[in-house]
Amino acid sequence: MKTEVLLGDEAVALAAIHAGIRGAFSYPGTPATEILEFVERQARSNNGDAVPVASWSANEKVAYEEALGVSYAGRRALVSMKHVGLNVAADPFVNSALTGAHGGLVLAVADDPGMHSSQNEQDSRFYAQFAKLPAYEPANQQEAYDMTLAAFEDSERHGLPVMVRLVTRLAHSRANVKVREQPVQPNPLGVVAEPKNWTLLPVNARRQFRGLVEKYDALTASADSSPYNDLSLAGKRGIICSGIAYNYVRECLNDDHSLLRISHYPLPAKLIRDLVAHCEEILVVEDGYPYIENEIAGILGSSGAKIRGKRTGDLPATGELNPDLVSAALGVADRERPEPCTDLAGRPPQLCQGCPHTDSYHHIVEALKPYREAVLFSDIGCYTLGALPPYNAIKSCVDMGASIGMARGAALAGVHPSCCAIGDSTFVHSGMTALVGAAETDTNMTVFILDNSTVAMTGGQTTMATGDQLVKLLEGLGVDPDHVKVIEPLSKYHEGNVRIIRREIDHKGLSVVVSKRACIQIKRK
């Protein structure tokens, strides 16, 4: 055993490497990005050895499918993403429960309670239950490592993909972790022997689903004896906590509360029933949605102990947990502390000095000024900061690639000019498919692709179609080459760029204006 200093994300990545993965697949997204970045760095330092493969895929669905292909071939794979990325990968995720896993397949998903860098705080544990797949929820960096190793073994033992669920405060927190000296032997190549199990025609799918239901029932029954769920009965006041919430409970409490610690799903029903029967009241502490609380109390409430938590207002219904919220909910006496300074000027994130998006927005906003009905839809990336002063340029941001579809829908509804701004990486992720339809029907709209040659917000990962390649791609998707314009966003070209943009706005059909200049952060790397 040796000791390494690792972020929660990195602990998952190192465990996967030590589990002998053939490949790791991902799309950048805070707070999961560092998982694949770690595998990438390890792979680079392996003296040019091509294994494990570390692949930034076009989007999370592709990443999951690539990992599934590795699993089909009998080898182990890690796929990682942020919580909303699982929405994109949901199709292969849910259906991989029916095909099952052949080589061990682990999905590491990092949720973002409190939305530090996301549009929502959805809780991936629901996805595991929905797909009928087991999940681990580590509380600390050591558990993130240990449970990921266990997840690969479980995946092959049960023949199912396994989820490991992190949250931001674990993903992005560093600690010393004891790790294996050497990886395990990787699996040899060996494709599935029964391809009919992986071919989900209804006749096969029905059989596979029946099998999945049986497996999940068996997993539910054995959850009570999992070493990762722990019940200790003591006093009449009880606590159920999962994942990182355990840390906050232990931080402020070490007395005779009864405690059920959950780190392994499906939920341990018998342990929960035993606790509810034993206690008078139970506080449920979980970082995310009130998933466990809902499962226990549901509509009818509990016939035993009174259940308290987010649904009862004992903990806030939204936002992330912290030790102070938990100690207040537990009735721990308040500590002396200075008054918070609530009158301080905010310092929100902003575009870097010299960012090409600044100039792009300057051109676009100027160009759109005479058009009072104009709407500029937008998307996810650094350029989303164009919603804030001094730009106040963009009027929407919903999900990856939404800008193009929304612009088309609004155009069909009569909005003119209907425009959108999307980044080059976001475009490849899920803008391309919307553009095909807009091109086919030559919808009257203008798409601005802000091509800065990188995935900037997440730290500068490589992007797939930039520059000339991007232009060729646009023409290949059916956009009229006469209405694909490339401009360089610089103040010295401001007037010329505004003219070009206005011509395309006035064109009564689809136009794509590529605003191309490299991110200044990658130039510094």
Binding site: N140, S173, P323
Partner: protein, 237 residues
């Protein structure tokens, strides 16, 4: 030993480098630590904060509970005020007075400094000035590490190897700048506290330190560091 440290600053000021040195110094002593930080949208030129906890016992929460921070260490004056509620009754605030005014409504610096000086234990250093004396304003983060790190019970010599490791891919000149910044921060903090204890106002104390000729300041800083536990630097600037 047990320490809870809030590290604050503006995105790009290098507070994670401060954290790196503190974590590794703790690790070298066989201590446990947890260090939480923010990435992504939470960083872009906005306020950034890192929670760092060191202990010889098990550490549970990655986040520091309010009222338990032993040290609020900030490379920017406004940012340290954001975390006032974390300070423990005996805790100290160590901050640079060099403002980063990348927001339109940045308040008057005098007012910010005055609020910092109201904390029972505080120390102010001019991060940009001292970094420049060391060779680069960008070394302000190492200045703050020198100014505040030893309050936790570490010696400068314990940080030094990690400062070197941080910049090992850069030139020796860059390594030396940052090592000097570390030493200058420690000396400036000591002098500031001495002036304030002697009855001077915070402004007077800062001014007194700021008026010391750079060459003299650098020499004294190196001598102090050597006396307190062995810091070796390559020759040449």
């Amino acid at each position: 030993m047990k320490a809870n440290v809030i590290l604050a600053g503006v995105g790009g000021q290098g507070i994670l480098s401060i954290a790196y040195c503190l974590c590794n110094a703790a690790l070298k002593r066989g201590m446990n630590f947890k260090q939480a930080e923010v990435h992504g949208m939470a960083q872009r030129g906005g306020g950034v904060v890192s929670h760092l906890r060191i202990s010889d016992q098990a550490i549970y929460s990655d986040l520091i509970p309010e009222g338990t921070a032993d040290l609020l260490l900030s490379v920017e004056p406004l940012e340290v005020l954001r975390y006032a509620q974390y300070l423990s009754p005996g805790g100290a605030v160590v901050a640079s007075v060099t403002p980063v005014t990348n927001i339109p409504d940045y308040p008057a610096l005098d007012g910010i400094v005055e609020r910092i000086t109201r904390f029972p234990q505080h120390c102010l250093v001019d991060g940009n000035h001292l970094g420049t004396v060391a060779g680069s304003g960008r070394a302000a983060n190492m200045v703050l590490l020198g100014a505040g790190g030893c309050r936790l019970g570490f010696s400068l010599a314990e940080f030094e190897p990690h400062v070197r490791a941080l910049f090992h891919s850069k030139s020796q000149r860059v390594i030396d700048i940052n090592c000097r910044a570390l030493q200058l921060g420690a000396l400036a903090a000591k002098l500031y506290s001495e002036h304030v204890e002697a009855g001077r106002t915070p402004q007077e104390a800062l001014q007194a330190v700021g008026e010391i000729p750079p060459a003299e300041l650098t020499e004294r800083a190196a001598a102090e560091a050597a006396a307190s536990g062995g810091v070796t630097m390559s020759s040449g600037r």
